[in-house]
Subunit: 299 residues, 2 copies
């Protein structure tokens, strides 16, 4: 394996351990919610957001338990968003990470509640003194996480994604529109991942800006490749339904650029991402390798 692949595999193993530690153990008459939360969070996932957080933190000197806890909090928000997005009233998906979605394995009420519990838990974890000894930094991490996940971030993106066909029926869903949609829906949390790593390591304002430029571009690459995989990907390998966007008549980067055009666009933006970290030399190798990983991913 490459250095990158080794580090990603390490992160995946570490996240499994730390999530197992911070997720509540089934207990009391409400034990079912702990089971559902663990079912959704453990045993799968690329852990891309935690990886970005940990690598950005490490690049500027922060490692260890605190960064792992912050990464776990971030992953809780990501998993909550998947659970709620999969609900029948949203994207109505039956399979996620290769197994039945929470509302299929349990029921719809548990889907709503397990998502709620993970979102709530994320902030409880991030507030813990083991994340960083300076409460001022923890508060910045919490504030940033809330903003990235809220109405002007991830939730805003999900709203646009769901209601765009209705709200904007007379407007063209052009490149600018879907770029903006994805900057909120996927991009905000990916940017936060890099930013949180920088905050944990008390990186300078300039470093934070470079991390943000990198992650903004990476988020866009992630979404373009998501659209490519939705068209080309194998549902079994992806662990979720593919070609959903086709059926819904949604505008995607593929419908706008065509398949080859979208691949070229992803590659160009990927170069921009690497460029944002060029001044750090080999210190940024892992984050730059992550760009290639996202460009070449099969799921």
């Amino acid at each position: 394996m490459s250095t990158f692949e080794t580090r990603l595999a390490d992160t995946q193993a570490q996240m499994e351990t730390v999530l197992d530690k911070v997720l509540p153990l089934p207990e009391g008459p409400q034990a079912q919610i702990m089971h559902a939360v663990r079912y959704a969070s453990l045993g799968g996932g690329k852990r891309l957001r935690p990886f970005l957080l940990l690598e950005a933190a490490s690049m500027f000197g922060a490692e260890g338990e605190g960064a792992l806890l912050a990464a776990a909090a971030l992953e809780c928000v990501h998993v909550y968003s998947l659970i709620h997005d999969d609900l029948p009233c949203m994207d109505d998906d039956d399979v996620r990470r290769g197994k039945p979605t929470v509302h299929k394995a349990y029921d719809e009420a548990m889907g709503v509640l397990a998502g709620d519990a993970l979102l709530t838990l994320a902030f409880e974890i991030m507030a813990h003194e083991d994340v960083h000894q300076d409460a001022g930094i923890r508060v910045k991490l919490i504030s940033g996480l809330a903003k990235a996940s809220g109405s002007y971030g991830m939730i805003g993106g999900q709203v646009i994604d769901i209601y765009a066909p209705i709200l904007l029926q007379n407007q063209n869903q052009d490149e600018e529109f879907i770029t903006r949609l994805q900057a909120l829906k996927t991009g905000a949390l990916i940017r936060y991942a890099a930013m949180a790593g920088g905050l944990l390591s008390e990186a300078s304002a300039e470093d934070l800006q470079n991390l943000d430029d990198f992650a903004s571009a990476l988020g866009l690459v992630f979404q373009i490749t998501d659209d490519i995989l939705d068209r080309e990907g194998d549902a079994a390998e992806m662990g979720k339904a593919t070609r959903k966007d086709d059926g819904l008549g949604k505008a995607t980067f593929v419908s706008i650029y065509g398949l080859d055009g979208a691949k070229k666009h992803a590659s160009d933006i990927g170069q921009q991402a690497k460029q944002a970290l060029a001044s750090y030399g080999s210190k940024a190798d892992t984050l730059c390798a992550c760009v290639d990983f996202v460009l070449n991913r099969k799921k």
Copy 2:
């Protein structure tokens, strides 16, 4: 109006102002979510939890903008819980605070997302430096809010409430069981309200314990009177459906004690609540009057 009624009315007016200020204004293609969030949060509600927070804070010397912001954050969590509890997959209620529930006025997806947005916003507000200049106190407020709302608090209570008939079909839903359920579902956030007021005013450990004893008893009174109102109350006056528990065959304080017994029980626990604050003399008058308000409420 009594002093208590005047202060409650003042709180309601203040909460309307501060919520209007902190809730996002409709903006961008996702404007619908801001409309839904405002629809659910503004123009109604007893604001009992904000009132408790503000009065507890005031009792130990904290007043002004910070306490109001913390109270708004707390109310956001309360409103989110109402929106999600009202969803078809949960309690399936059509009316709340005298108007259609969010999933009725908008749709189910917006019900899920508006709740998510309010829960997220609560932590963003609580992290703001205007809440308290000391980041260490803000982090305590955030941690406490997450715990009170999470799997060992409010969400845990909702899970028990929904699944109890299935999970515990062979067990008696006795007084101990429903007391525990309500201590989580309603009690945890009411206790947090008083505790947050104490934290904001940097009250001593002993004062915090007294506030907690008071609020634990008040929360129980609130739930017993809720059960009484569900049996006796007028749906139009309540602004929501009544006699729902009867139809669901749920154990309530009324089904266990009978109507008169439940009223006697509520009154006894109300006395315990007041007793917890007896040492503060007239400083605690408003919080003690709040016990009578909850005992005598008609909605």
